[in-house]
Subunit: 449 residues, 2 copies
Amino acid sequence: MGETFVVIGGDAAGMSAASKARRDAPDLDIVAFEKGEWVSYAACGMPYFVKGDVADLDALVSITADEFVSERDIDLRTGAEVVAIDPSVRTVTVETAADRYEQPYDHLLVATGARAIEPPFPGLDLEGVFTLHRMGDAAAIDTYLDEHDLQRAAIVGGGYVGVEMAEALAARGLEVSMYEMLDRLLQPFGEPGARRVEDHLREHGVDLHLETAVEGFLGDDRVEAVDLGGDRATTDLVVVGVGVEPNVDLAEAAGVEIGPTGAIATDRYGRTNLEGVYAAGDCAEVDHAVTGEADWVPLALTANRAGRAVGQTVAGDPTPVGETAGTAIVKAFDLGIARTGLTDPTAARAAGFAPVEVDISARTRAGYYPGARPLHVHLLADGESRRLLGATLVGEEGAKRIDTVATALHAGLTVDEVERLDLAYAPPFSPVWDPVLTAAKVLAGRLDQ
Amino acid sequence: MGETFVVIGGDAAGMSAASKARRDAPDLDIVAFEKGEWVSYAACGMPYFVKGDVADLDALVSITADEFVSERDIDLRTGAEVVAIDPSVRTVTVETAADRYEQPYDHLLVATGARAIEPPFPGLDLEGVFTLHRMGDAAAIDTYLDEHDLQRAAIVGGGYVGVEMAEALAARGLEVSMYEMLDRLLQPFGEPGARRVEDHLREHGVDLHLETAVEGFLGDDRVEAVDLGGDRATTDLVVVGVGVEPNVDLAEAAGVEIGPTGAIATDRYGRTNLEGVYAAGDCAEVDHAVTGEADWVPLALTANRAGRAVGQTVAGDPTPVGETAGTAIVKAFDLGIARTGLTDPTAARAAGFAPVEVDISARTRAGYYPGARPLHVHLLADGESRRLLGATLVGEEGAKRIDTVATALHAGLTVDEVERLDLAYAPPFSPVWDPVLTAAKVLAGRLDQ
């Protein structure tokens, strides 16, 4: 059909869109620009590369740049940065090391992702101070660990990256300290779950400092200490993981509307306010399954799915990008912690609900069956409508059962409906009442009071 | 209030009802009759007792008869069989070893359970031939194994009990043969899943004979062989597990209506056609979440939940017993196999659907993460409405993810809605697209063709 689909960003959302559009519209010209060299990689796997569970960084790449070109007929150009979008004439301006040119588009996907937040810490550029967001970061940390005899590591920030890197660096033999400005780790997972992870990290020797502001890093060439204001804590390595922010500058400069979360505003098909311009992945908002409001949840599945949907839409079959429930799961040493929906009563009240919560402990298997482990379920529902709002699950096994709750959230089920779900039971797999059912039963009782 | 609630049957449904009624209605007189000695026991745990994973049969009892009396103020009478119900005067006739008497009731729950089908095999009474349904059976098999030096075991019937006992007896060091009359094992799990279990059993040395009718057992006092018509197969032990049937004789004789499945017909509150008479558990029908028709699915959670709901209803708070999706999970050596809803295209067509199915293999974790295992997902949907109808999952880990599908079935989700579920991802727990999502994606594509 001679139309051109231009994709900005060569990771999850961008390459999912390009691949799906290619399959569904063989005649479409597809040009994808990636400013770096890595495409379509699993950033989530990087801590496991540093830990040593994954031997080769290439294993995190699902499809190489060459394969996109040779096998999928996608004109993927790495080392090519889109520096401007001109929606009036439908072109983007591309810069490479050698060149600068205009590329026309009929359909454009902004999939510029997110970037690690780098607070203005003095000493952030010292040797031995890292963030972990792009593939080069993982390789750099791994090399630094290999080439130096390090004793102590400091992790700044108690989110996903911080928790996963605590495990990774402990496995590499370092004494790990962790500094979190707020009063608990893993904010999006709610308080009861976060406390259990904190206890577990401490049991694994992590020196955990909550409500502790880092002011910078000290050292001459190499980092030697974390500056804590009055105190200083000796360290040989620092990983800063204080969160990510959406890359929206390029889009915003072109007149793309930014939503209240700071990410790009889109409709249910991923369309922005500009004709022919879509946004998907870690740079874009998506509707929340529980609140119905636009939200920004930069996670891999959301990005892959939204990208794929945009590809399908561009190919002529309008497809919703789907909603997010903010479902996430993290491994912290031997624990899994998973969350979905609204897990914080304050957030639930802000969204107009009257939250009621329970926090129960059950077992993952029949009590008499070998290997049964505790599974903690924190469950929230709306006191008025009895609708389920969210949950956090924590345990050495079974945290993936969060998917039961996520499915219930998408379907808008009440606590009573969840209590009556027919879930799978056999002694090696579950008690008769799955822990999620037990929590729903207790919560339903509390709602009756 | 002076009213009396009489419960017939001291296992899951009966004791759940008695316990819930006691909590909710402290003034109610509650009398429960159990003809045997064991109450409130996990029959599902018996294979693991025989296997040796559970050291003590008492571990399978969640609450003892004494505890029901002393701690829950329930007048539980073991060794007391109800032999007649007279609904015209609201009494039951009770027989004990020493006595026979009438017991009045205001509310009556029939929770008489199911019994192992015993085909009229010649030789069924030989020493060394067992069924496995009641606690005494497990103890008898275990004792027989301890007291004799046995080489070969024959299992008749390839259902749950057969598959679990194959694992248990192999673990006890026996050579196991299995005989199934039909052309596959585990009928309710659909063909693709059943085939994988068959392969797995063979890999674990089980000598599997499908489409093989057993005609009886041969031997003088002790069993020596299985009679296969023309052939005979030497054996030292036989376990017959060809299914269960509901115990409805007592209720039927009193005029309680029996449904088309052969179990007791009930409404959504577990009420039978007789005023004040309820039925719950393995003797009663329950509505199917997908077909909406009455079905008979004798499983532990259904029984526990229905009993609990009846107890709550009797206590004055009418509570639905819930629907069944026929969700079930079984361990077969290293494999888990789980099912929910309609897993057989023929059954789906009979229920008025136009089934379309896919059978995919995915991985339980990110492909690069250690320990990732294949998970096979067989998914069915209706070609007209696109509604999800059922699934079977098979794998060394992850089969419990059937709960995602079960939840979707209860909510009546379409394949497209399932494809857009926000499920949990992190490399140690799942690929970006959970195997259930991948299957839904493939199935949605097939429905579009």
